[in-house]
């Protein structure tokens, strides 16, 4: 009888614990950024492999009108890693390429590829994961594009999930 009782407890605890474990697993899932399109190597950027890139900071105003220091990686560095035609190869038909950035809420913005290349433009465009030394707020992160010196913040797209390089047709 005692044996049955133990088995019952075991089975019941399994029933109770299992869904909770699944839920925890689901909730712990992390957002990532997929780099696709006109690339040699598609990449998936997550909070772990993001740290392997050279980190930089950009100061710009947010909607609150105050300067903030954003930490992250120059977007061109990530795209170069994926084999996007930047630097010396950014010529000819490659000048008709654009970068479509998409957020988890469906919002999309576009950059012309040369906008991201330091040989074309001085201002820095980064994929940020920090603001003032802290991780971005959940509504903004974990990854956000920060465009240095751009007057409107509309292209500082939050909750980035995808970056696709494409040819204008």
């Amino acid at each position: 009888m005692k044996k049955y009782y133990l088995v019952m407890v075991f089975v019941l605890s399994g029933l109770i614990v299992k869904p909770a474990a699944i839920y925890a697993q689901v909730a712990a899932k992390q957002a990532s950024v997929k780099i696709t399109g006109e690339v040699i190597t598609p990449l998936t950027i997550n909070e772990v492999n993001f740290k392997a890139y050279t980190q930089t900071t950009v100061i710009r105003k947010d909607r609150d009108g105050k300067d903030h220091t954003y930490g992250g990686v120059v977007l061109a560095d990530i795209l170069t890693k994926a084999g996007v035609t930047l630097g010396k190869t950014l010529m000819g038909e490659n000048l008709t390429k654009y970068v479509l950035v998409e957020a988890s809420d469906g919002y999309q913005v576009v950059f012309a590829l040369p906008e991201l290349d330091k040989d074309f433009a001085d201002r820095t465009i980064i994929l940020a994961d920090k603001v003032d030394g802290q991780p971005l707020a959940p509504g903004d992160g974990p990854f956000r594009i920060i465009v240095q010196n751009e007057k409107k913040p509309a292209r500082c797209i939050k909750q980035v999930t995808g970056i696709k390089v494409m040819f204008a047709k």
Binding site: V26, A27, K29, Q30, G106, P138
Partner: protein, 384 residues
């Protein structure tokens, strides 16, 4: 020789029967082959105003044709596509309600209610992600889901194909569209999608205003200004902040947000698909086209009237970790926590929302149930 007299006697009668039955067959064939005459063929011209833009979605393998739309329309209203022959797409997407059904949840063939509110169909030509959680990437993919879901129309596409193949109506229509009479699930959803792409709503009073053909009332103008403005109490600007998510000429921007309905949502929305905490309670920001006709509102139809909806955004947003950043800290009061529109402003906003009703869209005969039309044509012919 012996049968001659009989023949002589019988032949006029037989002839009559023959002619009558021939006529009958012809009438049945004609009425079942077409719903109002000859099937039109050739490319279908999708007509819309230039300010809607051309970021439209028509798959390369299913260009919109007149015969395709004709077939798709017949299928959209075809109850044989449901397990018990009682429901069609049109059952939950009624034209007079801008292709919704006026219910919070709709009942499927098994009498089980759907988990989410039936969505309005308009300007789908510009839509890229379908359903409240955006899980379908094309109209074709979308169409297949309610057709087969056991709590909706509940019938496998192969069964639907078989049932349609057994009719007189459909095999010739499929031949007109696809070159042969073979009926498949893929061909069914492609044709339905073709019809749905033609559901263009571009003649509301708001559209007319944008093309200088309508002068809004004072309340409509005030409502429009509130709709488009972000509140800035320091500068004395009052706003309802709607256009961040509902702006543009089509009143649809294909965004997905948690709009502060619950602190712990019963329906997890997109998070159920992605497992991401930031997607919890996140749903499609639906089109506001014909919004006055498409209540009850929200993914669960919890609000019966536009007043309740406006009250929600003005006064009852519930904070949570995944609440849209557009709905945080926006107020018409200095250091205010909620939008706090006045009763007058709410009325003005609703006056503007009523400007988005396109009455020509909901009465356009090109979108109506062709089977009803065919039936009424038949009655008319008989009464003559």
């Amino acid at each position: 020789m012996r049968i001659e007299p009989n023949n002589k006697h019988k032949s006029p009668y037989l002839n009559k029967v023959f002619i009558v039955s021939l006529l009958l067959v012809a009438v049945i064939a004609a009425s079942s082959w077409t719903y109002y005459g000859v099937v039109p063929t050739g490319p279908y011209q999708l007509v819309y105003p230039a300010n809607f833009g051309n970021r439209i979605n028509v798959p390369d393998d299913s260009p919109t044709t007149q015969q395709g739309v004709y077939l798709g329309r017949a299928l959209f209203y075809e109850t044989r596509l449901s397990a018990n022959n009682t429901l069609s797409c049109g059952s939950c997407h009624k034209q007079e309600l801008a292709f919704t059904d006026g219910l919070a949840f709709s009942k499927g063939v098994d009498e089980v209610a759907t988990p989410r509110n039936s969505m309005s169909l308009a300007n789908l030509l510009w839509t890229r992600r379908f359903f409240w959680d955006g899980r379908a990437g094309s109209l074709e993919e979308q169409a297949g889901i309610p057709l087969t879901n056991p709590h909706e129309m509940g019938q496998e596409l192969t069964v639907s194909a078989k049932k349609l193949s057994a009719t007189n109506l459909y095999p010739p229509l499929f031949k007109q569209v696809y070159g042969d009479e073979s009926i498949t699930g893929e061909r069914i959803v492609k044709a339905i999608a073709q019809f749905e792409r033609t559901l263009i709503s571009a003649n509301s009073r708001y559209d007319q205003y944008l093309r200088n053909a309508y002068t809004p009332t004072a309340d409509e103008l005030k409502g429009m200004a509130l709709f488009n403005q972000s509140p800035n109490p320091e500068k004395g600007i009052r706003g309802a902040n709607c256009s961040h998510c509902h702006g543009g000429t089509k009143n649809y921007m294909e965004l997905f947000h948690n709009n502060g309905l619950d602190s712990i949502p019963k329906d997890e929305g997109i998070a159920a698909l992605t497992g991401l905490a930031s997607d919890r309670g996140r749903f499609k920001v639906p089109t506001l086209r014909n919004i006055a006709l498409t209540g009850p509102y929200m993914h669960d139809g919890r609000f019966k009237t536009l007043k309740e909806v406006v009250d929600h955004y003005s006064d009852h947003i519930i904070a949570s970790a995944s609440l849209s950043t557009f709905l945080r800290g926006e107020s018409n009061e200095v250091n205010g926590k909620a939008l706090k529109l006045t009763t007058q402003e709410k009325k003005q906003l609703i006056a503007f929302l009523n400007m988005l009703t396109d009455s020509s869209f909901i009465t356009d005969r090109r979108f109506a149930d062709p089977h009803l039309l065919a039936a009424s044509n038949k009655t008319k012919t008989k009464s003559k």
